[in-house]
């Protein structure tokens, strides 16, 4: 009872502003603060707005790839780090914290200078690399505590029984830390979707993402087409979760 009430309140808190911006996606006027009447104008505009659609595709593409890559690298790195000598562990972890500590502008500018000195073309690739770079620390942070808590004898036992170290990792360690890998991936995905400053300085050539569009738009007031897009996103995810839930219930029953 307490559990349901607490989680209910928590989700109300988390979704209150989301509901507000969803409601205003149906607003007639451009204002995100005053309700003037129901309309689907912004949805129509969204389907005409090529720029917004491109930004959305790039956003999703970068988020999906950077999550996959950073989760992969982050997980295996964490497994490796844990085996390093303590001094090197401390070094790796401290450096790992830098992008988390640093103001985004510092990371953004230093990456921009790095790519510039490597004579890279700014665009999709540089944006993607930056996202991978700032996501990995979060994956490592998420995976590591669970690795430390793992029974150290487990992997050794597996190897004693004839498993190669690789098999021990894939068959024994990874299944044990799966929830924290999931958590790390979720965080990487979230960091990627929400980033503005680093993306701004490390993209170009017509490659943009939703954050860049939204921040640039903010000066004249954000158009509710963005709200419409957010509403569709939330609706799609909710539907998927609901269906997944149904399927798992059915599976549990049969």
């Amino acid at each position: 009872m307490v559990k349901k009430l607490y989680l209910g309140l928590l989700f109300f808190f988390l979704y209150a502003p989301i509901i507000v911006l969803m409601v205003f996606s149906f607003n007639e006027s451009r204002s995100g603060t005053v309700w003037t009447g129901f309309s689907l104008t912004w949805y129509e505009e969204l389907f005409r707005d090529r720029r917004m659609q491109d930004a959305f595709r790039y956003t999703l593409l970068v988020a999906v790839i950077s999550t996959a890559v950073s989760t992969f690298i982050g997980t295996f790195t964490a497994i490796g780090i844990q085996k390093l000598r303590p001094k090197w562990q401390a070094f790796a972890l401290n450096v790992n914290y830098f992008p988390v500590i640093n103001p985004e502008i510092v990371t953004a500018i230093s990456l921009m200078m790095l790519y510039r000195s490597l004579r890279l073309d700014f665009g999709f690739a540089t944006m993607l690399m930056s996202h991978i770079m700032f996501s990995i620390p979060y994956v490592i942070l998420a995976v590591l505590p669970r690795l430390y808590a793992l029974d150290k004898n487990l992997a050794e036992a597996a190897q004693d029984l004839g498993a190669t170290p690789w098999q021990a990792i894939v068959k024994v360690i990874i299944p044990q830390i799966r929830p924290s890998i999931f958590t790390g991936a979720l965080m990487a995905f979230t960091m990627s979707l929400d980033d503005f400053v680093i993306s701004f300085f490390n993209s170009g050539g017509g490659v943009t993402n939703l954050s860049i569009e939204i921040y640039a738009m903010a000066r004249r007031g954000i158009r509710p087409t963005v709200n419409a897009l957010a509403t569709l996103m939330v609706a799609v995810i909710f539907t998927v979760v609901l269906i997944a839930n149904r399927i798992s219930i059915r599976k549990a029953k049969s």
Binding site: F11, L21, L93, Y97, I105, L144, T183, N227
Partner: protein, 280 residues
């Protein structure tokens, strides 16, 4: 194959993408343009400037807000993580997903929505007026700033704690109860200690980035909360003095590493460089 070699590629990678740029920023912070064009000379002037009262005041203000936000996230997030871990196994990952989903909507959009809720002619006041309650001016207050920060960082506290609690064996809890421990004792002696690694990760993930974030305090605090992240960004973009900006960034980094080191000193578990604690 040696497992630790798995970390080598990343060590090379962070050396290139993090350490080298950081060294450059450090270098920037200790030099200034020399008398001739394109010459540089060693100088500590930027640090002296960074350490003056005004900037320390800004740094302290950011620390207080980050600390308050982290504490609030922990207080709200711990029970949440606990309750989620007690849900039916198959709905847990879906609840976690739904917990994270609001963060997928752009931060600016979410903050604006909060402003629409909290502002003088906003939604909250309309609801209060409907029930005949007095109007509240919540926007542009300390409360609004902390609320915005908690809103933005809460999932990063809940998730690590949840994964830590998840591994607490239900049998362990039952055993404690069978041996006569009260629910309170069971929690304090069995569950809480096992969730400490999650708490530490959570604090790290909330405290570190919130020290340098400034958009939320700027919007919900009405610009009256000057944050160190804002000060640094202004040096890089507005004044174009990267030397001073770099000195401020190094100061921030030193300050955070120091406070984390202090936190570690007060954490008895890490004394024996022990189980489940991130080594520093």
């Amino acid at each position: 194959m040696d497992t630790k070699k798995l970390s080598y590629p990343y060590l090379v990678w962070i050396t290139l993408t993090i350490l080298v740029p950081m060294l450059l920023i450090f270098l920037y912070s200790i030099i200034e343009p020399g008398p001739e064009p394109l010459t540089f000379q060693f100088s500590l002037a930027h640090y002296l400037r960074a350490l003056d009262g005004l900037h320390l005041q800004v740094l302290w203000g950011s620390f207080v807000i980050a600390l308050a936000s982290t504490a609030a996230c922990l207080l709200i997030g711990y029970p949440a993580a606990w309750f989620i871990s007690r849900l039916r196994a198959r709905s847990q990952s879906q609840v976690i997903l739904l917990l994270m989903m609001p963060m997928w909507i752009n931060m600016l959009l979410r903050s604006y929505a909060w402003m629409t809720i909290l502002s003088r002619n906003g939604i909250l006041n309309s609801v209060l007026a409907f029930f005949g309650l007095p109007e509240q001016n919540l926007l542009y207050t300390d409360f609004a700033v902390i609320l915005g920060m908690v809103y933005n960082f809460l999932p990063f506290m809940i998730l690590p704690i949840y994964t830590a609690i998840l591994k607490v064996d239900a049998n362990l809890v039952d055993a404690a109860r069978d041996l006569g421990a009260s629910p309170g004792e069971t929690f304090l002696k069995v569950i809480f200690p096992l969730s400490i690694p999650g708490i530490i990760t959570g604090i790290t993930m909330v405290f570190l980035p919130s020290m340098s974030s400034f958009v939320i305090p700027q919007l919900l605090g009405g610009g009256q909360f000057l944050m160190i992240g804002n000060l640094i960004e202004r040096q890089y973009l507005l004044t174009g003095n990267w030397h001073f900006g770099s000195a401020l960034a190094m100061l921030l980094m030193a300050f955070i590493l120091l406070s984390v080191w202090l936190m570690k000193r007060f954490d008895p578990k890490s004394m024996d460089s022990g189980e489940g604690v991130i080594p520093w």
